[in-house]
């Protein structure tokens, strides 16, 4: 006879298993509540609250513009350094925030995971979704800064391709998929080897230098492009510049390289995480 829908079979799993979508769907309300909790609690007892989403990239941009633009005089694709960095940070901040929140999933929620069952993947997914909000706030503030620029410098060539803005969510989705995949890898490794806790902060610092946040891709020798595109954060950063500022270096084959690297990271990350999560409470 067929099993009733609600029958739960508990047994050791051998090898890898993939995501249990039905289980994940059953807990969708928890996903929304966790997203909402992230938002509701992040800025409790802060004065500026969600305005931090605007100030943080602006301050970083000012520092970059002074250090890399004024002092080091690094080229910025003929763009005003402020717009160049602010645009690059859009994609970069989403990646680094999501990567961080995902990679600390297991260690930060060990207490919760040790006491109650729900699909563990809900927690990193909640981070992915709640970071969408900060992304759109940043995008909004970027568009405001851009508008001010265009208004105060009439006749400039750069500006968003408005119709192409529809592509922004798609690129964001790729970025989310990669951040999740890479974060899950690190989360799994951290639960097994504490060495990776030390590594994660360091990794994200180095990663920024292999991503065209500060140095435009056009300044990278063309024979390296394929390797640079293997870093799945590269193309989203360049695509955003292309869509929002109309400059930058976008190449369709490299977008496919980037997508393939993203898919590989996400799928392997999910598999590794699923393997670790089933018994990680035993070793935490």
């Amino acid at each position: 006879m067929s099993l009733p829908v609600s029958e739960i079979l508990i047994q050791p799993t051998r090898g890898f298993r993939f995501v249990n979508w039905r289980d994940l769907y059953a807990y969708r309300d928890l996903l929304w509540l966790l997203v909402w909790r992230d938002f509701a609690t992040r800025y409790k007892q802060t004065i500026l609250g969600p305005l931090w989403h605007i100030f943080q990239p602006l301050l970083t941009t000012v520092v970059f513009a002074i250090v890399f633009g004024q002092i080091a005089k690094l080229p910025t694709d003929e763009l005003p350094p402020t717009l160049f960095y602010l645009c690059g940070l859009l994609a970069w901040n989403y990646f680094s925030q999501t990567f961080n929140s995902t990679s600390s999933t297991l260690t930060a929620n060990a207490g919760l995971f040790g006491k109650v069952y729900f699909p563990r993947l809900i927690v990193p997914l909640a981070g992915v979704v709640s970071n969408f909000f900060s992304f759109f706030i940043q995008l909004g503030s970027f568009l405001i800064v851009l508008t001010i620029y265009r208004w105060s410098h009439p006749g400039v060539s750069y500006g968003p391709r408005w119709e192409a803005l529809l592509l922004v969510p798609l690129i964001l989705l790729q970025l989310a998929a990669f951040s999740l995949g890479a974060g899950l890898w690190l989360a799994s490794l951290t639960s097994k080897f504490r060495d990776f806790t030390v590594l994660s902060g360091f990794l994200i610092q180095l990663w920024m230098y292999v991503t065209p946040v500060i140095i435009p891709l056009t300044k990278v020798p063309p024979q390296w492009h394929t390797y640079v595109a293997l870093n799945p954060v590269t193309m989203p950063v360049e695509c955003f510049r292309f869509l929002l500022l109309g400059t930058g270096w976008v190449n369709v084959p490299l977008i496919f390289v980037s997508l393939a690297a993203t898919a590989a990271t996400l799928i392997s990350g999910l598999l590794v995480f699923q393997r670790i999560e089933k018994s990680f409470v035993d070793v935490i």
Binding site: L9, Q11, D29, V283
Partner: protein, 411 residues
């Protein structure tokens, strides 16, 4: 018999002692190297927290899980709640499962009571619609109406626990797995929780797996019990049988008080021993109990007074028993005196008790010794159940009484 709602077959869980805790890369590499060479790694010791446990639970049944610390109770609950995976064996659960291993899991201090009810409900597996439907009931049960929009960090610990339990108590799973969460909270609230659990099982026909050290709660709640010992099933049967087995395997907790050695010549109580009807300080109600008191008096005592009170777990004095030199002469010469007090028929209510003992001269004289909370013991009722269950806070002791129905008689 209907199809069991829970079927556990040879469930086992092994822990690698050497590997508990995250390892460093270096350790892992040396472990791998040892494995490649086929040499056992020096510190990989195995430990079976649970071994070949099998049992069935019928729908609507309340099954207790008992055993000493380290018997594997928590591991079993963790496996059944899917927090961790078994090493071998299977368990089939036919229905929605909610586990309550801790009260207030996932409560966020910055969020209000209302917000936490929704969050905690979702963590425990409820949908928002379900929580919304139950919300008023939850708040009323927790008695926090006025504070429901206050962040829970401003709650008293009592309020916090009440709210947290209220959420859990209003879950509607077919199977509820409860750890000793009732140990928190004050006595009236504990009573309320037990009452709620009883409702859930008797009225709504839920299946419950209940772990507790509190034999009174186990007796009143469950019909069958699983007794675990070092990870294996020692007994699975009716609650009374299983509790009986549990006490046979009890490690003896010291029911003996022994005074530290003294050098002065002041009289004192050297030793007090309580002999309960079962091992490990467990006294069956209605059975005899003995208290033996040894006095050391290097000098003669004129008019010794010995008395002890039996205190229940709420620190109420259940009874006072004494023997004075005026009733029967003792301790009038230097040396030791041993007295035995026999209580032929213990009528104390179920619960945990201890003794408070005094050794003194007659009123106005010196107090030689006063010992508080010595010789702990527990009173249980085996093989007897009542409609409401046996509860330590119901009364202090049971009076012998007979009832007669005068009017009108049911034909």
């Amino acid at each position: 018999m209907s199809r069991p709602i829970i079927e556990v077959r040879n469930l086992s869980k092994r822990y690698q002692l050497g590997a508990i805790g995250a390892t460093s890369l270096r350790e892992e590499a040396s472990r791998l190297w040892d494995r490649v060479r086929g040499v056992p790694h020096p510190d990989s010791k195995e430990f079976w927290a649970l071994r070949d446990v099998s049992f069935d639970v019928q729908p609507g049944e309340v099954v207790g899980v008992i055993g000493r610390n380290g018997a594997g109770k928590s591991t079993l609950l963790k496996l059944l709640s899917r927090i961790t995976e078994p090493t071998s064996g299977t368990a089939r659960l036919r229905g929605r499962v909610a586990s309550l291993l801790e009260v207030g899991t996932g409560f966020h201090p910055e969020l209000t009571g209302r917000e936490n009810v929704f969050l905690n409900g979702a963590i425990l597996g409820m949908t928002r619609a379900e929580v919304r439907k139950k919300f008023d009931e939850i708040v009323a049960f927790a008695e926090v109406d006025q504070f429901i929009d206050t962040p829970v960090k401003r709650y008293s610990s009592g309020m916090y626990v009440r709210l947290a339990f209220a959420v859990a108590a209003h879950l509607e799973p077919e199977i509820l797995i409860v750890d000793e969460v009732l140990a928190v909270g004050d006595a009236p609230f504990q009573k309320k929780c037990l009452g709620k659990l009883r409702d859930v099982t008797s009225r709504e026909g839920r299946t419950v797996i209940f772990v507790s050290h509190d034999m009174a709660a186990i007796t009143s709640m469950t019909s069958r019990c699983l007794l675990l010992h070092h990870g294996a099933t020692l007994h699975f049967g009716t609650t009374d049988d299983t509790i009986g087995k549990y006490f046979e395997y009890g490690e003896s907790r010291s029911q003996i008080y022994t005074a530290p050695t003294r050098t002065d010549s002041r009289p004192y109580v050297q030793r007090v021993e309580i002999r309960t009807s079962k091992q490990a300080g467990v006294q069956a109600a209605g059975q005899p109990m003995e208290v033996t008191i040894e006095l050391r008096h290097p000098q003669p005592v004129g008019g010794a007074c010995i008395s002890f009170q039996i205190l229940n777990q709420f620190q109420q004095h259940a009874t006072h028993i004494w023997i004075f030199d005026a009733d029967e002469a003792y301790a009038r010469r230097p040396g030791t005196t041993t007295l035995t007090c026999k209580i032929p028929n213990v009528r104390l209510n179920v619960g945990h008790y201890s003794l408070r003992l005094f050794f003194s001269e007659p009123p106005g004289g010196q107090i030689f010794d006063s010992l508080d909370r010595i010789c702990p013991f527990e009173v249980v009722r085996l093989g007897e159940t009542t409609l409401w269950g046996w509860r330590p806070d119901a009364c202090v002791y049971h009076e012998e009484a007979t009832w007669n129905l005068i009017h009108p008689r049911i034909p």
